[in-house]
């Protein structure tokens, strides 16, 4: 009965649910900019709530068992041909091609959730609101587009679209020195994209019939040399976003200087674009290429994890500590992807099931990290308002002075280092089980967990449980400031007990990847 109502809502949407979700924020962005600052926040809240509800509906109506290359799965698909590239019969065309499977649905729900939370926590933005919310909605369109695209052209279009609003949000509404951070962010990511897009072009031309369609490219069974080259290029593009060790330098800058909602979106979803690109363009499209690179990538992941943990330990700024925590956590995703690729290539059923675990863990890690780190960033942002500083060494006795805020913060911190009962634990456990079965030495990443627990507890010890400093004024955060983080803790705890909520979506996608390319 309810499903009928939902179905009729979906069928009433113009264009279809995917393009509707995709273009609604983009159109609303223009409306917000034109209508001015007074209505900006209200319109944005309405749009992000509609988007969130639509993404839940999307999760309900789509059968996760249907894969992108399934001919019957094209019901939700949508395509728009921009132009033909040559004259004559059947010329190659540039298209916007949309479609979803279990993996994309998880990412779409995550991005709409994080955007919703970030919109709620934007209440401290006072300056040029209409521009801010305009960029904010544009950003949402870009993110959704990346996760919905099933052809390389539209993937790249949306991948680039994300850059511009993010640049402005960091640069204009960030702290002192934010412009430098924004430029650094753009240069790093653009450099990665440049290499990635050249590899897209190569794929276009090596294909027997020139195409950007991911499904067709996957089914073509590209030659190993091409696959390895493409995998390296994807590593450059997605590795910057993820980020991986040598390409990570923009991240602490951008995260620290960005305004709180900006950091939330950066850490909550932008990094996931990297993880998603690794899985979609790597494991899903060219499993062979990634399988050959799996050992170096796994080593890099383990190294990044431990390196980021040590660096995080050395930070005195709360936000920058959280930023390094993200690098630390995202390296788990890379580990899951790389060992998963190794498992995909082998015919041993034990390794195959280990790969299944690791890839599911990687996807779960993206979801769980997206939720946890959002809370962490919001709390780090609150510290600035509550205590006037984010210096870990200067804040003392937080628990005594601001109990409500601190309890949320403690919960988030516990979730961040993967305490059982929170979603982070499930993710790390899944990846670790898979990884150790495939490469026994990958267990070294456990040292990363050890460090993470160490520095987070040490931070709590210094800030929260220490004796209050009588000279320091610390206010309790207001109720309205706590709405967003408390809402966001719900999925964190829920997924800790009921991981199947996410895993149900991803199971069949991962099984499909394990099936190998035809």
């Amino acid at each position: 009965m309810q499903m009928d109502i939902i179905q009729s809502i979906v069928s009433a949407l113009p264009l279809g649910i995917l393009p509707f979700m995709l273009f609604l924020p983009l159109i609303a962005a223009f409306a917000v900019i034109i209508l001015g600052s007074r209505t900006a926040r209200a319109i944005t809240m309405v749009i992000v709530i509609i988007e969130f509800v639509l993404s839940i509906i999307l999760g309900l109506i789509v059968d996760p068992a249907i894969q992108l290359d399934d001919p019957t799965g094209g019901a939700l698909g949508w395509q728009f041909t921009i132009t033909a590239l040559a004259t004559g019969e059947n010329p190659p065309v540039l298209q916007i091609l949309l479609g979803v499977d279990g993996l994309s649905i998880v990412m779409i729900i995550l991005s709409n959730l994080v955007v919703l939370i970030a919109a709620i926590s934007s209440n401290h933005i006072k300056e040029s609101k209409s521009m801010y919310y305009g960029f904010f909605l544009m950003l949402q369109s870009g993110l959704l587009g990346v996760f919905m695209s099933i052809d390389l052209f539209s993937f790249f279009v949306f991948w680039e679209l994300v850059l511009i609003p993010m640049f402005f949000i960091i640069g204009k509404w960030g702290e002192e020195g934010a412009q430098h951070a924004a430029v650094k962010f753009v240069i790093y990511t653009h450099f990665g994209s440049a290499i990635m897009v050249i590899s897209f072009f190569v794929l276009f031309f090596v294909a027997p019939t020139p195409t950007f369609n991911m499904v067709l490219l996957r089914n073509m069974g590209l030659s190993p040399e091409i696959q390895i080259g493409f995998a390296l290029a994807v590593f450059m593009g997605a590795g910057v976003k993820l980020p991986v060790f040598p390409l990570h330098n923009w991240l602490p800058w951008a995260h620290v200087k960005a305004p709180t909602p900006g950091s939330v979106i950066l850490a909550g979803i932008l990094l996931k674009m990297g993880g998603y690109a690794f899985i979609r363009l790597g494991l899903w499209m060219i499993p062979g290429g990634f399988a050959r690179l799996s050992i170096p990538l796994a080593i890099l992941a383990v190294f990044t994890c431990i390196y980021a943990a040590f660096t995080a330990m050395a930070q005195t700024d709360m936000k920058s500590m959280v930023a390094y925590t993200s690098i630390n956590h995202m390296s788990w995703v890379l580990l899951g992807v790389s060992v998963g690729a190794a498992g995909l290539a082998s015919s041993d059923p034990v390794l195959q099931s280990a790969a299944h675990l690791a890839i599911q863990g990687a996807i779960f890690m993206m979801f769980s990290h997206g939720t946890i780190i959002s809370v962490m960033f919001i709390m780090a942002g609150q510290l600035k308002y509550a205590a006037g500083t984010r210096e870990i060494t200067k804040i003392k006795g937080l628990l005594a002075k601001a109990p409500h805020m601190t309890s949320v913060f403690i919960l988030a911190a516990l979730a961040a280092f993967g305490l059982p009962g929170f979603s982070g634990f499930i993710a790390e456990a899944l990846i670790l089980f898979g990884a150790v079965t495939i490469y026994i030495w990958a267990g070294i990443i456990g040292f990363g967990i050890f460090l993470t627990v160490g520095y987070i507890l040490w931070t709590l010890n210094r800030m929260v449980f220490s004796d209050p400093d009588p000279e320091m004024e610390i206010h309790e955060a207001s109720r309205s400031d706590l709405i967003a983080p408390v809402l966001m803790m719900i999925p964190v705890i829920l997924l800790g007990f009921w991981p199947d909520l996410v895993l149900n979506f991803t199971q069949s996608v991962v099984a499909f990847m394990l099936g190998g390319s035809p």
Binding site: T83, L85, A86, T87
Partner: protein
């Protein structure tokens, strides 16, 4: 798709009466009727300009020329003057480009100079020359048309409201003369080696010589020299590597309408002339000229981008950025497939729209404020004139090549084409150059939106230039989603050159 067909059918039906009138003219004129119309109206506006404001007459002339181009199908009515000037798919693409810029420029002339007879006369004569340049199939005819197009622009630059105009005009004139000399020398060498100046016959002759290089070595070297001279001669006008120095001075000194015309239209006719010479006349010598073009493309991109970053004056920045843009277009020539040429033409078209809008708006501001426009003058424009700021921002974003603006697609396709022939490093290099160019385009946006103005209060700009920029900005947004009218023309033009 069906609807658009109906739409074009109705348009075509409306133009039938016009065609019926026009075919009464001598058959030898058919292809050149729009040009002859422009010449007629130029004289008319000169005469009317003695007493009245001639601008409406010239605008009517340009609109009439556009209608005539649309009414006379180039496949039936394309030939004129015994095949000296021919309208084909390739020429049509550039004719539409020139006329689109022409109409925008003439509307923009209401700000400055449009009320004077000579100003209108010079513009219309130059439009006529520009159309003949793209139609010319003979080197001598090309030369004549080239001079017809260029000579009025030297004077137009000198007519600038700025005293620097004379300086810019002199520089432009000297450079133009040098390029003319090179061109003439090149034509003479070609005639000496092959005994013909018809471009298609040159193509046949070059192919014959390249097929038997050992015996005809001296002729081959003569032709190579001629080819290099052509590249340099037209390169002066286009503003590519060896001949780019006049561009910033002239663009910054001339009045905005003239600059828009120079950047939007005459540059593109240079590209079309070079395309005809290289791709029709010297296609057999492809492997000789393509390294030259690669080097020119790289140097042009780098020089344009680096110097654009160093500018404070917006007009100069835009001038250098169009030098860089020509570097991207030359990437298409270097790749030299149908795909790449089509993308290069597409980029040229979009570039014309973007640059016209930008120059017109910046010039309108500089007239209003009575000073040169630097980044500081743009500070806080989003508050002082929100509409103009929004339009300029859209154009800047399109110049950057960001998705959802028309500037993105041609660059994407152009860089894509480099991979097909194995020049992927050139594509990567061009892409990184685009990244580099974000630096100075962002500064414009940043000044308009993130800086506070030094002067308070709204800035009132005349409505006409703002609406021109508005048209350009809207075109830029729409052409991302529906570029088919232009890409179809560009594809047809490229298919004609490279079957």
């Amino acid at each position: 798709m069906i609807q658009s067909n109906i739409f074009t059918d109705i348009l075509a039906a409306m133009l039938v009466p016009l065609r019926d009138v026009l075919v009464q003219l001598p058959a030898d004129w058919y292809g050149s009727i729009p040009v002859l119309t422009l010449i007629l109206f130029s004289i008319l506006s000169l005469i009317i300009g003695l007493r009245y404001n001639p601008l409406p007459v010239s605008i009517i002339g340009v609109i009439l020329a556009i209608l005539e181009v649309a009414a006379l199908d180039s496949s039936t009515y394309g030939v004129s003057f015994g095949g000296l000037f021919v309208r084909d798919a390739f020429a049509d693409f550039f004719i539409y480009l020139v006329l689109l810029v022409a109409i925008l420029v003439m509307i923009s002339a209401t700000q400055y100079g449009g009320d004077k007879g000579p100003y209108n006369f010079l513009f219309l004569i130059s439009f006529a020359g520009a159309i003949w340049v793209v139609m010319a199939t003979d080197l001598v005819a090309l030369f004549m048309a080239w001079e017809l197009m260029s000579t009025p622009t030297y004077i137009l630059v000198a007519l600038s409201p700025d005293r620097l105009g004379l300086d810019g005009a002199t520089k432009y004139f000297v450079m133009g003369l040098i390029s003319t000399i090179f061109m003439l020398f090149g034509i003479a060498l070609v005639f000496g080696a092959l005994g013909t100046t018809v471009i298609a016959e040159v193509g046949v002759g070059v192919a014959a010589i390249w097929a038997a290089p050992a015996s005809l070595e001296s002729q081959a070297y003569t032709l190579l020299l001629a080819m290099a001279l052509f590249v340099i001669a037209f390169g002066f006008k286009i503003g590519i590597f060896p001949g780019w120095m006049w561009v910033p001075d002239t663009y910054a000194a001339a009045d905005g309408s003239v600059t828009a015309y120079l950047a939007g239209a005459t540059k593109k006719t240079g590209i079309s002339a070079l395309a005809r010479i290289l791709l029709v006349g010297f296609i057999a010598a492809r492997f000789e000229w393509y390294p030259l073009i690669v080097v020119i493309a790289i140097l042009t991109m780098v020089i344009g981008n680096f110097l654009a970053l160093a500018q404070k004056d917006i007009l100069k920045m835009l001038a250098f950025s169009s030098i860089a843009m020509m570097g991207y277009v030359f990437v298409g020539f270097a790749v030299d497939t149908q795909f790449a040429i089509s993308a290069a033409f597409f980029l040229a078209f979009i570039h014309a729209i973007m640059k016209t809008g930008a120059f017109v708006l910046v010039f309108a501001m500089s007239i209003k404020l009575q000073k040169r426009i630097t980044y500081e003058q743009l500070n806080g424009l989003s508050v002082r004139h929100p509409l103009a700021a929004a339009f300029l921002a859209i154009i800047m974003i399109s110049l950057m090549g960001i998705p959802f603006t028309a500037g993105f697609t041609p660059k994407f396709v152009l860089f894509m084409s480099t991979v097909e022939v194995g020049l992927w490093w050139l594509g990567l290099f061009a892409f990184l150059n685009v990244t580099f160019s974000l630096g100075y385009y962002f500064r414009v946006v940043r000044a308009m939106y993130f800086r506070t103005a030094s002067e308070e209060g709204p800035l009132s700009l005349p409505r006409i230039p703002v609406s021109i920029v508005g048209i350009c900005a809207i075109l830029v947004l729409v052409l991302f989603w529906f570029p088919a009218p232009i890409t179809n023309l560009a594809n047809a033009a490229a298919a004609l050159l490279i079957p």
